[in-house]
């Protein structure tokens, strides 16, 4: 098992390396960072000074080595927009994104299991078909639009909840719901289908036959086996939330996390901050992947032997 985890760890290193290379190629070779970051009317001297400041006047291999060195020390330089170290901004915003992602995905996880089980108990029945149909709708609604609808309904019309910001704990309700609903739809589908498969197994019939109570058979025997795909999906959804949904949801609700900061960095043409954000997120994605693998080996004893 230790070996397996070690292998996964190296895998993560390769992913980070890949991100490094791609970001380098995109920002230095395909695009011209000076052109993106400086205004059009900048003079030649200004451009030269800027290039020197970022070390862009040196040869590509030297630049790459310097780039790698900077990353090793997590030093991306000063943000052009806020004039302070980019990593400082990232560390300030990161907790907000993590909280939002965990609350949103956690909510989806908790709700999806009972819903999926209820649907799976009678495949083809009324509750099953309505759950599947509602999940399909949940999968089809764009997340940013869902967020705006929530704002229109709960904040503008009913005035129950605040529209945006982070002032009180109530502020997290709408963004977390928006974050979690598409995930909830996917999870319910997975819980349902894996539960249907498990309930058809012989061991479930045996358990029922020997008179075990319903909640023990379904809730413990079948659920344990059905949990595997759900846990996998949970990890994936968490990754998607941190590295994707957060950008959209945070922009809609003005939730000042990494996602919104990334969009602001793009608007202000601050490639340095954007790079720092992409790297941080890449590292978090890799970490979630590793944790997921460890959890997996704990839940599935078959992997421990391998």
């Amino acid at each position: 098992m230790g070996r397996y985890i070690l292998k996964r760890f190296w895998y993560g290193v390769i992913v980070i390396l890949g991100v490094t290379i791609i970001v380098f190629v995109v920002t230095r070779l395909i695009g011209d960072p000076v052109k993106v970051m400086l205004p059009l009317e900048a003079t030649l001297e200004q451009r030269a000074a800027f290039e020197k400041r970022l070390g862009l006047d040196r040869s590509i291999p030297v630049q790459f080595i310097e780039f790698m060195g900077d990353i090793a020390y997590l030093d991306f330089g000063n943000s052009l927009w806020q004039h302070r170290p980019a990593m400082e901004i990232v560390f300030e915003k990161l907790p907000l994104t993590l909280i939002l992602s965990f609350v949103g995905i956690g909510f989806a996880f908790v709700i999806s299991i009972p819903l999926g089980i209820i649907a799976a108990l009678r495949p083809g029945g009324v509750s099953d078909r309505s759950t599947v149909f509602l999940s399909l709708i949940g999968l089809s609604v764009p997340q940013f639009w869902l967020g705006l609808l929530f704002i229109i309904i709960f904040a503008v019309q009913l005035r129950w909840l605040p529209t945006s910001g982070v002032a009180t704990p109530f502020h997290i309700i709408l963004p977390a719901l928006t974050m979690g609903l598409p995930t909830l739809a996917r999870m319910v589908m997975i819980v349902r289908s894996s539960m249907i498969d498990e309930l058809n197994q012989q061991y479930v019939k045996t358990a029922f036959a020997k008179g075990l109570p319903f909640y023990r058979v379904v809730g413990i025997h079948a659920m344990r086996n059905a949990a595997l795909p759900v846990v996998t999906l949970c990890g994936w959804e968490l990754i998607r939330a941190v590295a994707g949904y957060s950008v959209v949801v945070e922009t809609v609700f003005a939730w000042p996390g990494l996602g919104m900061t990334a969009i602001q960095a793009i608007e202000r043409e601050d490639l340095i901050l954007l790079q720092a954000i992409v790297f941080t997120v890449a590292i978090i994605v890799v970490l979630i992947n590793i944790v997921m693998d460890i959890v997996y080996t704990i839940i599935d004893p078959r992997l421990k032997l391998a």
């Binding site: 890949g18 995109v26 083809g124 089809s140 764009p142 639009w145 990754i239 994707g244 950008v247 954007l274």
Partner: protein
């Protein structure tokens, strides 16, 4: 001459068979009501996109500042001139929704085609060649799957600048891995069969084995996957355009219209609502058809469905079946 006629007849027979199969497929579609509704909605959307200039009551870009922020027709202040109201520049919302379908469908189709082709070719290479090629491609896929895709897309879009082409390229680069994985695993299982072995022994070239003997087996799972991906891409394009990184202002896109409507969310709810409904309906229709396709193309699912129908029938006839549904399919 004689031979030619013979071949023609054979082809005719095949043609006939094909029609029969299409007919059967149609019947099956009719039986699955949700899939049928989805298919009709997709057909309507396609028609809407193709006939946009005829259907749209106004030019989607023409402004009329005297008729700004008019609400839809069923509200108090609505006019029949603008069925779904107008936006902050007096542009007709209905016409913009109709034109917006073009971008969504175009980008969806382009990305599925490009990403799908690339993924299938890679999967075929990995599965058929095996060895080092396989190892390399699979490692590549694994690494890319673990990437924070959207954020890299953001960096690329920020550096190169957003346009329809960049969006298509970025989304294709982001989504080819699923096809690659699926193709490879299917190739690996098909390769073991006798008919592929026979084809190889007879001396078919690699390309013939791949395209005549292996690829046809992949048609239905790939088609289902392609449709599912289409739905995902329509959503992704809308999200990118909403963030200001997709389609740019003179052009119309549903995501873009939601973004502009966002500033008027307190005064004009229809600006955000209408394009959003259009996106949701489109994606829902595609999802309905995809789930129907999965049902009919997966033999296991078909069996379950059949068993369920039998069970319901028996119940209706009043015979209390002691055999639970699930036992039937074992």
């Amino acid at each position: 001459m004689k031979k030619g006629k013979h071949v023609e007849k054979m082809l005719e027979g095949r043609h006939h068979e094909r029609w029969e199969r299409l007919h059967e497929l149609g019947l099956e579609l009719w039986r699955d009501k949700t899939g049928f509704i989805g298919m009709i909605m997709i057909a309507a959307l396609l028609f809407m996109a193709l006939a946009a200039p005829v259907l749209a009551p106004h030019d989607p870009a023409s402004q009329d500042l005297r008729a700004r922020l008019k609400p839809p027709v069923w509200t108090e202040k609505g006019t029949w001139n603008h069925l779904l109201g107008t936006d902050h520049l007096g542009r007709d919302v209905l016409s913009r929704v109709i034109y917006g379908s073009r971008v969504s469908l175009l980008i969806g189709a382009a990305v599925v085609l490009i990403g799908g082709t690339f993924g299938v070719v890679m999967g075929l290479l990995a599965g058929y060649r095996g060895g080092r090629t396989d190892n390399f491609i699979m490692r590549w896929i694994d690494t890319q799957v673990a990437f924070p895709g959207l954020l890299l897309a953001l960096i690329i879009l920020a550096v190169i600048g957003p346009s329809i082409t960049t969006v298509i390229i970025v989304l294709s680069l982001n989504g080819w891995m699923v096809y690659g994985r699926m193709t490879r695993s299917a190739v690996l299982s098909v390769r073991q069969t006798e008919y592929v072995e026979a084809a190889e022994i007879v001396g078919c070239r690699g390309s013939r084995v791949i395209f005549r003997h292996i690829l046809p087996n992949l048609t239905s799972p790939l088609l289902t996957l392609g449709i599912l991906e289409f739905a995902r891409i329509v959503l992704a394009e809308a999200a990118l355009s909403f963030l200001g990184l997709g389609i740019q202002p003179p052009a119309t896109s549903w995501g873009l219209d939601v973004a502009t409507g966002r500033d008027y969310i307190f005064r004009a709810w229809w600006l955000v609502t209408m394009p959003g409904i259009a996106i949701s309906i489109t994606v829902l229709a595609i999802n309905l058809v995809a789930s129907w396709m999965r049902l009919i193309s997966d033999p296991q699912e078909r069996e379950k469905q059949f068993a369920r129908q039998m069970h319901i029938k028996r119940k209706k006839q009043g015979q209390l079946s002691t055999v639970p549904v699930e036992v039937v399919n074992e």
